[in-house]
Symmetry: C2
């Protein structure tokens, strides 16, 4: 269209900040429930196909008005992200590999036909928001400020009018039991993602259909679902999955399903693979012997294989990973009416999961410098 070049981009330099007159009390860390206490402010911008992006605003968190025929209600046209800000020993707010989340956010938005934005500008804006909300970031291991960027189509189907906002909520450990091993119910009848579907994008449409099956798992006494595609293991709840296997050569395989379109390309997933690959040649993982060779790989894993590995005594650990949980051990899988008990460990995680958890949270909190993954919000 001829108007395209004149449309404004999302520009951090146009940021308008209007602070709340009255600030809310920050709840004590132990009272935090995941994503339930929104901070004082949000980042907000709107897009229309004539003018492009509005000047972004940091403004008091609050409701907005939408037309009843907005396409997001009818067609689920929305994409989102989940990322975290941390405060480390220096008291400075930090983000963890935020460019990966923002790049995925842009891909998810494009998949849902939502308007494009400049990822670098959005990162600058998120840093500005986190700097404003710094007092909300709880200190302490397992605590952080959860950051939820969203982009949602409003107006009619073809209008390409959208709202983008970023909201924040302080958060403690994701699961009540801390690092206790999860008991998962493997789902055969409900399929989270399929070839040609949207499983590799972080779009609203992947989540609504999972609410009922997750509730069914809870009702049966499980903590979460294990998503299957036929016999293939794909994800656990909203997390990627890893299996740790003993090798014949004394080393350890660390495997996770490949990014075949049905798997969310998780930032934690990618980080786990990278950290495992770095041990021990480039860095020793805490608590793991430098002589223990880790062999990370992306490969298909099936329930049949899982049971065989278990029977052979090769399956050492299974865990799920994600921004919310970081590394969460899996101790049991309900499958075809029986429970498959996996190796469990005092304190929760097995040695490989624990080593990766420690190193990852050290990097996130700014206690260990690694490849620029932990990014300061204030220069």
């Amino acid at each position: 269209m001829s108007t395209q070049p004149e449309r404004a981009g999302l520009e951090a330099s146009r940021l308008i900040t209007v602070l709340a007159n009255e600030l809310k009390p920050v709840p004590p860390p132990q009272e935090l429930r995941f994503g339930q206490s929104m901070t004082d402010h949000m980042l907000f911008a709107s897009y229309d196909p004539v003018n492009g992006w509005s000047a972004p605003e940091i403004k008091p968190y609050g409701p907005f008005t939408l037309e009843p025929n907005s396409s997001c209600f009818q067609y689920g046209t929305s994409a989102f992200e989940g990322m975290k800000a941390y405060v480390g020993p220096d008291g400075e707010p930090r983000l963890f590999r935020p460019e990966m989340n923002i790049a995925r956010f842009a891909r998810s938005a494009a998949r849902m036909s939502l308007p494009p934005f400049n990822p670098d500008e959005l990162l600058k804006l998120i840093k500005a928001l986190v700097a404003v909300e710094k007092r909300w970031i709880p200190a302490g291991k397992g605590y952080s400020l959860y950051i939820r960027p969203m982009i949602v189509a409003i107006g009619l189907l073809t209008s390409n009018t959208a709202l983008l906002w970023v909201m924040c909520a302080p958060t403690g450990p994701y699961l009540k039991g801390g690092s206790q091993a999860l008991s998962l119910l493997a789902m055969r009848d409900t399929v989270r993602a399929w070839p040609g579907g949207t499983g590799e994008y972080k779009v609203a449409c992947n989540y609504g259909p999972t609410i009922n099956p997750v509730q069914a798992a809870l009702d049966k006494g499980y903590d979460q679902t294990l998503w299957l595609l036929g016999d293939k293991i794909t994800e656990a709840g909203v997390m990627n999955v890893f299996i740790v296997l003993k090798r014949d050569d004394g080393g350890i395989d660390l495997i996770t399903p490949p990014l075949d379109g049905t798997i969310l390309p998780g930032v934690t997933r990618d980080s786990i693979l990278a950290l495992a690959a770095a041990h021990p040649a480039r860095m020793t993982l805490p608590g793991l012997a430098p002589t223990t060779l880790l062999h990370p790989s992306e490969r298909t894993m099936t329930m049949t294989e899982l049971q065989a590995w278990l029977a052979e005594g090769r399956l050492l650990e299974m865990f799920s990973v994600g921004t919310a949980v970081v590394v969460q051990p899996i101790g049991n899988i309900g499958y075809d009416g029986k429970d498959i008990a996996l190796p469990t460990f005092e304190g929760g995680r097995g040695p490989v999961g624990q080593a990766l958890y420690e190193r990852l949270t050290d990097i996130q909190d700014g206690r260990f410098e690694w490849e620029g993954w932990s990014v300061r919000c204030e220069d």
Copy 2:
């Protein structure tokens, strides 16, 4: 929960009607664009898990305010329906088999973990809304009032707080070209629905992911997509599909994919199957000889079969059906880089499609009484 019995149901007897002070001008029928001119009023009710359903209201159509962390934005938790009101020769507004839409609406809502409602009460309320908006129903074949019931989760994921509303827009023939034959692009890479997915429900999540592939089809000069699952034909755009085949015994097969979980159980689909089964024993379809025996059936159909039927000269007609289009002929399928030309007919529809279209619209408009399918809004 102990509070459950005290929660209010959706009750038509509690309806509060507040009419708009100023009514909008009704656009001339020829200027109507599908779903773009909302009428003066909407039906509205809200649900919370403590109080249940609010007293339903008919009130001026207008925006509402939502919290940025409403679950519909993050998880696509919404379901909807598409139905139509017609005015026939008697000038009375009518609905077409509305109980089927409302039953599907309740099933879709339940699939998305949205609160339950009494379908009979919702039907009473929709009739009341249509009666209020009677002046908006355009007269004439192919014209009607499109009715969009919606139910959307607001609030936090687990809060089960929801809004239900019904909005209306006058509408003319769905596709600009009237009954001209559609040219469809068969989609291999993007899959609309999958076993274990939500294809059989009318939920927002089924639609957002189709916007890009539909645009890709339009960009290549096609009118719509033909959805495949592997080699299987499933749906066309947002429509069910039928193929008409010549039988060796001189009769005619009318086939459509079975409701295996990947197919929306369309009201028009069901009506077409029923009308075909009634011909000629119980009723003669207009323009079809009583000696022409129709054999409707639900069976899997593949692209391989379609091409074989075409080569054998057995494929007489292919058409798509739905509330919006009623019966729309399909004249071409782009598949694996080539175009498959289907039989086309002067005026658009072939004899079987035309006969079914005529009888169905006669029933919808109240010109032909059939099994109580056309339901008056005012008693």
